[in-house]
């Protein structure tokens, strides 16, 4: 079995806002092995992006702060590295595709400039080499008229194009780990398929690990080896992909799978999980899903369930399975 490339150990990332402390990531532990694809799914706002950003150490501070835990990457604790060491990891060993492609690209620099930068910094390419490589990357992510795009500015590109530029930047230095935060939301399915194929290919060629944050369970099914389900800053379930789809344990996971519209299986109304995500400020010590859960028991409202594995290694945090 491949060794762990990344290991989150009890990561806690909080935001100190005026109203109170937002525990965006609250005691999260999981790991990603070399060459593995781990998909992170979960309610919008549950802390997926913040987890990823914590790994990059790019949480804006203040107000954000990594309050505890460790993130071991390739044997080193990321949180203890110096800025200079961190810089060599970022973009080089870990590539990241940000969720918001528009604001994540510098509006006043050309696409070419932004693409060539990491190549010249980490791969020490000359300008000319970097230029050629950048053109190749643009073509790889399926954008036509690469030369023109090189000299264009972000606002001149469509949403999907920007997203693909972000992908190209993240891939440019052959990272060991790619964090992809909803990389294909703005892409049509044919291009999405193309990108996913590209990612798969790169993974295979370079044994790259992939942390994929997505809402599209179709993509999860297609790409993932392992799935993490988060809810309100906590991991509530994790399992290998087939196991999870076959046998979802946590009521939230079950709800998610039920809510997904599937082509050719039209319903009158889509299923939704009732209720709202709780206010992340001042959460108590109980199951955060309890007020939306149709199976909620008394204990759910009093005590926090722990993430516990069953025999097959399928972990879930729910009192329903506590006894097993």
């Amino acid at each position: 079995m491949a060794r762990n490339l990344v290991e989150f150990r009890n990561l806690k990332t909080y935001f100190y806002t005026e109203e109170g402390v937002v525990k965006a990531v609250n005691d999260v532990s999981f790991s990603i092995r070399e060459g593995e694809t781990v998909c992170v799914v979960g309610e919008s706002g549950c802390g997926k992006s913040v987890t990823a950003l914590s790994l990059m150490r790019l949480i804006q501070s203040p107000p954000g702060k990594i309050e505890g835990g460790e993130i071991i990457f390739d044997g080193r604790d990321i949180l203890k590295l110096s800025e200079a060491e961190m810089r060599r990891i970022r973009g080089n060993e870990i590539g990241m595709i940000f969720q918001e492609p528009m604001t994540s690209l510098n509006p006043v620099l050309t696409i070419g400039d932004q693409l060539m930068e990491p190549l010249m910094v980490h791969k020490l390419m000359t300008k000319k080499e970097a230029w050629n490589k950048a053109i190749e990357l643009i073509k790889q992510v399926g954008i036509p008229r690469a030369e023109q795009i090189m000299t264009s500015y972000p606002h001149e590109l469509s949403g999907g194009m920007r997203q693909r530029i972000m992908i190209a930047i993240a891939l440019s230095c052959d990272p060991k780990l790619l964090i992809a935060d909803e990389p294909t939301t703005a892409l049509d399915v044919t291009i999405q398929a193309q990108i996913l194929d590209l990612l798969k290919k790169i993974k295979q060629e370079r044994n790259m690990a992939l942390m994929l944050i997505t809402h599209d369970l179709g993509i999860v099914a297609e790409m993932a080896d392992y799935v993490i389900v988060m809810y309100a800053g906590k991991v509530i379930e994790e399992a290998p992909v087939k196991e999870l789809f076959k046998n979802p344990k946590h009521p939230y996971t079950r709800g998610l799978l039920k809510a997904k519209p599937i082509i050719g299986q039209r319903q009158e109304r889509l299923y939704t999980i009732p209720g709202q995500v709780p206010n992340p400020i001042g959460l108590g010590n109980y199951c955060y899903f309890s007020d939306r859960c149709e199976y909620a028991m008394d204990i759910c409202r009093q005590k926090m369930p722990q993430l516990t594995a069953d025999k097959s290694g399928h972990k879930a945090a729910c009192w329903l399975y506590e006894g097993e």
Binding site: E18, P62, H155, P274
Partner: protein, 307 residues
């Protein structure tokens, strides 16, 4: 309709809390900033010092006494005396009245005119931009001194009572110095108006005034605040130049700038520091205070800045 009606139960819980207006909220953040408090304290001190202070001075009704002139600080005269034997401390306080008023009022006028015209020119572009900016070109190129000389004479011809001229001066200072700010504001608005959130306001069909005031202006606020802080100092210092042209204070009323420039030779500079250090320090304190306040305001209006 389950999804629609269900969350409405929460409503009661939440709407007791009154909307914190952006201002109240900014005020709240503002008070949390220790620099802001320091700035505020200094400014209030300067105001009290200038407006109330003189009533505590034993020299309010003192006569000019040349034989007692140019005395260094002593127990009687904490900051010494000037060449006519007047108490420097008292003059410093009296001068503050004028300088503070002029500095702050002129700056407000600059912000008002410069901010408004810059925003309008930047936002609308086209012929409005052309007209405003060409006007700005002319005003910017216009030589200050002759205008002031002329205005001084005109006011004199119009028999505007000298003590009132100071109020006109504030306008004049504001009027001839709005161009810089207008250009600054315009340049930023040129870029801001092309951003997506401005497209969004277009979709919403907001009124232009609202787009400018609520959406564009807050985004240029940092620049405006810097301009304002620097403007106060500038106005206080240039007031003295105006005074010489019959536009500013009328002697014997002092102003800080006037006191400073009355000591502009090497001798007073080396031999009588008590003549220029106090007004210099007063101006500096005021400017620093205003800067602290300005910085804190900037932070208070910057949602990404958490203190």
């Amino acid at each position: 309709m389950d999804q629609l009606s269900q969350p409405l139960d929460h409503k009661k819980k939440n709407n007791q809390k009154k909307a914190p207006s952006i201002w109240r909220d900014a005020f709240h953040r503002f008070l949390k900033n220790k620099y802001a408090i320091l700035g505020l304290v200094i400014l209030i001190f300067m105001l009290l010092f200038s407006f109330i202070g003189p009533y505590f001075s034993p020299y309010m009704d003192a006569k000019i006494d040349v034989s007692n002139g140019n005395q260094p600080p002593s127990r009687d005269h904490w900051l010494g005396t000037d060449n006519l034997g007047r108490d420097v401390l008292l003059r410093l306080m009296l001068a503050g009245r004028i300088s503070l008023t002029v500095g702050i009022a002129a700056t407000l006028i600059i912000i008002l005119i410069g901010g408004a015209l810059g925003s309008i020119a930047g936002y609308y572009g086209g012929w409005l931009d052309v007209i405003i900016m060409r006007l700005a070109d002319i005003i910017y190129a216009m030589p200050g001194l002759p205008i002031l000389i002329m205005l001084g004479a005109i006011m004199s011809d119009l028999k505007i009572p000298p003590p009132q001229r100071i109020y006109y001066v504030m306008f004049i200072l504001g009027f001839i110095s709005w161009v810089g700010l207008a250009r600054l504001v315009r340049s930023q608005i040129l870029s801001l108006k092309e951003q997506e959130f401005m497209l969004a306001t277009e979709v919403l069909g907001l009124r232009d005034s609202k787009k400018i005031i609520k959406h564009l202006f807050p985004n240029v606020l940092p620049t405006v605040i810097v301009s304002a802080t620097l403007g106060v100092a500038g106005a206080i210092l240039s007031e003295s130049a105006l005074s010489f042209l019959g536009l500013g204070v009328i002697p014997p009323t002092p102003s800080w700038g006037y006191m400073l420039s009355a000591a502009n030779n090497m001798i007073d500079f080396t031999k009588r520091p008590w003549l220029w250090i106090p007004p210099g320090v007063a101006i500096m304190l005021t400017v620093v205070a205003i800067n602290f306040i300005g910085d804190a305001l900037r932070d208070a209006f910057d949602p990404r800045q958490k203190i």
